[in-house]
């Protein structure tokens, strides 16, 4: 199946020339993508800009005086913050601008990276998977047109996001134009890196889902490498686009050269993607398909068996990803503790702010982050039901003696059981590494318990998917808003001043005791389990009543 490799040399020559032939039709495809995504792309852009400006505005409201900012600066200098937000700068005279950059830039980078990955894959690998790309390539369209047109559109979207974010930020009284522009373009530069990374991911994986996984994994790896580098102060951070963006030092003493690193990497990776894309067959991947079993095992024939088989690869990847994440943050607990021991004043500040010791609060935050990522898995996994329906694969299954509720139960088991597995993989590795670092075995059990405490909240998100799937299948993807809201409340709740507002109650994450460090309260857990169960019941009942749809 590697017919695509045979004329490599000739094709390389083609790429080098990259004449009109290889790019023919790019303009048409760009217009086509813009037309298809005339709503989607603006929604991404507006959502990202609005969240960033909203975060900046709420910082301004929450920290109105210089003394507020000064005490905040002490917190920013702590290892917990360094691990999540990078090394702070401009702390001697902490301004709102410095705060927005130190505490908001990574959020912006993550958002543009996700936008880039989702959009690029949507127009490259997903198109090939559906077979539509074949139709387009058969027309007078060059070999690189598909990849290049997607990259051009997404790159342009990144530029627009950066400029609009700059405009939005500079509209705030305390933020100056240069700083805002530096902030915005730092986001753009990182977005371009992940646009290129997604273009490579689209070449490597055969399915869009897998390609998105590769793209998001790249995001995770670069974030973690930076965290390790920043905590250990080894300079490892300099391999990560996260660091390059922060090193522009927006709002303090701006410098542009770190962005050259992002741009160079983006160009090199894009070139790589084009080389690979020209070498392989349309619809093919670098990994050729192998023959498999010609019979189904009796496992597969059960609803759970099929749902598990379809998501096995993804489940394993998520579990490994979370385990690695946990294992990268666990060892940092030693540094955090040491740092706090030297600085009793800081310890008090954190204890007052978080109601726990420094290490507990650090581990609690990491656990919360793991739980948020696991929620992403739970939602994605439960959404698989809708994917099966739309693709038309569910019809023949439901035309057998398989009832609708049994069919749902398979996917539900993977979404709930799988999210438990993914969460515990993260908590386990976090616990083992933290316990080893602290010589304190009880930490492992506390962290496992902390992880388990989040499961009902995660299942509520899966329950929302099921409920929408049954009752309002057309908008089932709106379930992602649960995750967005959980992130707002769970990670940004304190700085946004959401902690005491009733809005917090709307997020399942607002109800989970953040272990370790606080007293365990069983009531919210029980309520969350009941809510998840209720949502699932509604969804199943709805699905049993409605038409099965197919495109």
């Amino acid at each position: 199946m590697n017919a695509g490799i045979s004329t490599t040399a000739a094709r390389d020559a083609d790429i080098a020339r990259s004449g009109n032939g290889a790019l023919a039709g790019t303009g048409t495809l760009i217009r086509f993508i813009l037309r298809r995504d005339r709503i989607r792309i603006p929604v991404w852009i507006v959502a990202i800009v609005v969240s960033l400006v909203g975060v900046a505005q709420s910082y301004a409201d929450t920290f109105p005086t210089q003394s507020d900012l000064d005490s905040r600066a002490k917190l920013v200098d702590s290892p917990i913050f360094v691990a999540f937000n990078g090394p702070g700068y401009g702390l001697d005279n902490y301004t709102l601008g410095a705060m927005v950059a130190n505490e908001g830039l990574y959020l912006g980078v993550i958002l543009v990276a996700l936008m880039s990955v989702f959009l690029v894959i949507r127009h490259t690998r997903a198109e090939e998977e559906s077979g539509r790309a074949e139709l387009i390539r058969s027309a007078a369209v060059g070999r690189h047109a598909g990849t290049v047109s997607s990259i051009v559109v997404v790159a342009a979207a990144n530029v627009v996001v950066g400029l609009l974010a700059a405009a939005g930020l500079s509209s705030l009284e305390e933020l100056d134009g240069t700083g805002s522009l530096t902030f915005g373009l730092s986001m753009t530069a990182a977005g371009l890196v992940f646009t290129a990374a997604a273009a490579i991911a689209a070449q490597v994986a055969e399915y869009a889902r897998g390609a998105i996984g590769v793209g998001v994994a790249a995001l995770g790896v670069t974030y973690v490498l930076r965290a390790i580098g920043d905590i250990s102060e080894t300079g490892l951070s300099w391999v990560s686009p996260f660091a390059w963006s922060l090193e522009t030092r927006a709002f303090v003493d701006e410098r542009w050269w770190p962005l050259l690193l992002s741009l160079s990497l983006a160009v090199v990776v894009t070139y790589g993607a084009m080389v690979v894309s020209a070498r392989r067959d349309v619809g093919g991947a670098l990994v050729p398909p192998r023959p498999g079993r010609s019979r189904a095992t009796s496992q597969l024939v059960r609803p759970v068996g099929l749902a598990l088989r379809l998501q096995r690869g993804g489940l394993i990847a998520w579990a490994i990803g979370l385990a690695l994440l946990g294992a990268s943050f666990g060892p940092l607990v030693g540094d955090v503790g040491e740092f706090a021991a030297e600085n009793e004043q800081l310890q008090d500040i954190i204890a007052a702010a978080e109601g726990a010791t420094v290490t507990e609060s650090f581990l609690g935050t990491v656990t919360r982050m793991l739980a948020l990522i696991t929620t992403g898995f739970a939602i994605q996994s439960a959404l698989r039901m809708r994917g099966e329906e739309i693709s038309g694969r569910v019809e023949p299954m439901l035309a057998t003696a398989l009832s609708r509720q049994r069919w749902v139960s398979g996917y539900l088991a993977v979404a709930t059981g799988g999210s438990a597995l993914v969460m515990l993989a993260g908590s386990m590795l976090l616990g083992v590494t933290a316990a080893a670092g602290q010589q304190d075995a009880s930490l492992l059990f506390e962290l496992l318990a902390g992880g388990v405490a989040y499961l009902p909240a995660i299942w509520v998100a899966a329950g929302v998917v099921v409920a929408l799937f049954g009752v309002l299948p057309g908008v089932v993807k709106a379930a992602w808003l649960v995750l967005v809201y959980d992130v707002l409340v769970g990670l940004l709740g304190a700085p946004l001043g959401l902690d005491d507002s009733p809005a917090r109650n709307l997020s399942p994450f607002g109800h989970v005791p953040q272990l370790p460090g606080v007293d365990f309260d069983a009531l919210p857990i029980v309520v969350l389990v009941a809510v998840a169960g209720g949502l699932i019941g509604v969804g199943v009942a709805g699905f049993r009543r409605r038409d099965v749809q197919s495109s």
Partner: protein, 306 residues
Amino acid sequence: MRPVISVEGLVKNFGTTRALDGVNLVVEGGEVHGFLGPNGAGKSTTIRILLGLLRADHGTATVLGGDAWDDAVELHRRLAYVPGDVELWPNLTGGEAIDLQARLRDGFDPRHRDELCERFDLDPSKKGRTYSKGNRQKVAIVAALASDAELLILDEPTAGLDPLMEAVFQECIREAKASGRTVLLSSHILAQVEALADHVSIIRLGRVVEAGTLAELRHLTRTTIDVMTSRPADSVSQFTGVHDLRLEDGRARFDVDTEHLDAVVGHLHELGIRALVSQPPTLEQLFMRHYGAELPGATTQDGVSR
């Protein structure tokens, strides 16, 4: 004996589109029933209702004595379905997809399955992603035939099959019929329906406009006559049931409704027949007549798109 499929007054709306507008359909046990109609007529919609995948707005759909919606799961043990557009899981093999469906029905026979794979020249160890259109279709056909379902519901089952495989398919359907199974066959391949079906229903704009045996339907259509007569045949135009008459020096070509054939040929005889070619009504003509605008009452398009 009660019919295997009995559909009465079926109505289904998708938003403002009326897909079915009072469909009536009866399929008796043991027959191969051709289900024909132009694109968008409502064949697949009717079939999805029979499978309990869609819920009818009005009317009743009874399958194997049970209600198509309420008793869906129980009924599905005893019937098998082949869709016209088979989607497979990209990372599951064809063999796994076959087992997945066939084992969820009564009377799955693995040996029969292997035998079918051989007859259809299907490699069940390949991943779904790598099958061609025709091979995906074969996967669904083998899955449906591998169990001994009493009723086969086939929605354009052979779209994309090559002629050789088409022949194998027809053979399999004949065997199914011989063993007493009932088949509902929706198809655009008229030769296939002509070869297999004993009863036919034609659906158009969400309504069954014609139903009966092939012989009965043939009777409703026209024979084409190409004749040379000693005396000019202008007078033929005065006969009822003669259409599209063309006359050129002693030669006449026209279509005649089969029920008036006798009278017209009698008249031609009087004019002195020197040569005569008569083409029997083809199924194709029958369908052209029903699919096209020629259908009596086809002008009443109301109630279809409101």
